[in-house]
Amino acid sequence: MNHHELEPKLKERLRALPVPPPSADYVPRVLGAVRQARRRAWRPVLGAALAASLAVGVGIGAWLGQRTDPADGALSVTLAQGVVSPVRLVFRAPHDLQGVEIHLQLPAGVELAGRPGRSELRWHADLQAGSNQLELPVIIQGGDGGVLTASVGLGQDRKQFAVLVKAKKEVSNA
């Protein structure tokens, strides 16, 4: 008798043992705990001179023909539809800033590659004194584009910036 192998029927039953689905809030709860842990780790740093710390400037542009829109003075960028295009935001910080929250709000029909269906993203990062570049893999899935807002926050202080993302018009040869 071969005791080295588990008999197929028992193995079959082991594999058929049910696994109940996780709680409905399982994924957000786990990821929320991660974010909370990250914030806890930064708490001592955040205690220092917040208002002065948030003297963050932002430059959005200088790549891909990004420019100031003459109509309303807003920053704008024109991208081809359905193509991933890097849009680079440059945050300039007067000195090192730790635990800065970056929040992105994307207009309808605009997504970041790898994050389908997400119109809002929020994460934390450390800024170093000087220029800090954030490259966003933007893709216009449909529509004419819209306003992408990026905000930088530290504690209660927050600065928001907007850039107009326009879909490039198809040129007809007719």
């Binding site: 008798m1 588990l6 028992l10 696994v19 399982y26 786990v30 990250r38 970056i102 990062a125 000087g130």
Partner: protein, 171 residues
Amino acid sequence: MTMLFPRSATFDLVLRPHLERLYRLAFRFTGSRGAAEDLVQELCVRLLPRDAELRALEQPGPWLARSLHNLYVDQARRQARYPVDAVDELPEVEDPTPGPDQLTDLQISAERIGAALMELPAEQRAVIAWHDIEGYTLEELAQSHEVPLGTLKSRLHRARAALRVALKAAP
């Protein structure tokens, strides 16, 4: 210029596709939904300082699964206060418990199998979960867990023997 990498967003992005599988594996280990969810959550929080290491992996799944296993075994050891794999290095011996034919004659319910599994020490339950339930080969496990193949074979053999005993004893 400093490259401003969206660290936590990427950390989320790397973790998210694996959470369901990690939960499933954690449930195999713990036998409880709540304990499985807590185990995965604890793992993810503990991995936070290692996000760069995690992001650098081409296939983080096996690394995450091994980390989950290590955390589970560590927790079980702390709770049990005795080494769970003390028998690992013992030589294989003929198993005196009922053999396959006898077992398959039994009408073993899922509940009974689940209960018997939960009676096993953590390390034995884990090796059955990995190999007999989730389908990993011993070679894969030896490589990913960095455990000698012979040790794993011995561990599996004893885990199965213990499962047979537990099944026979179960009401």
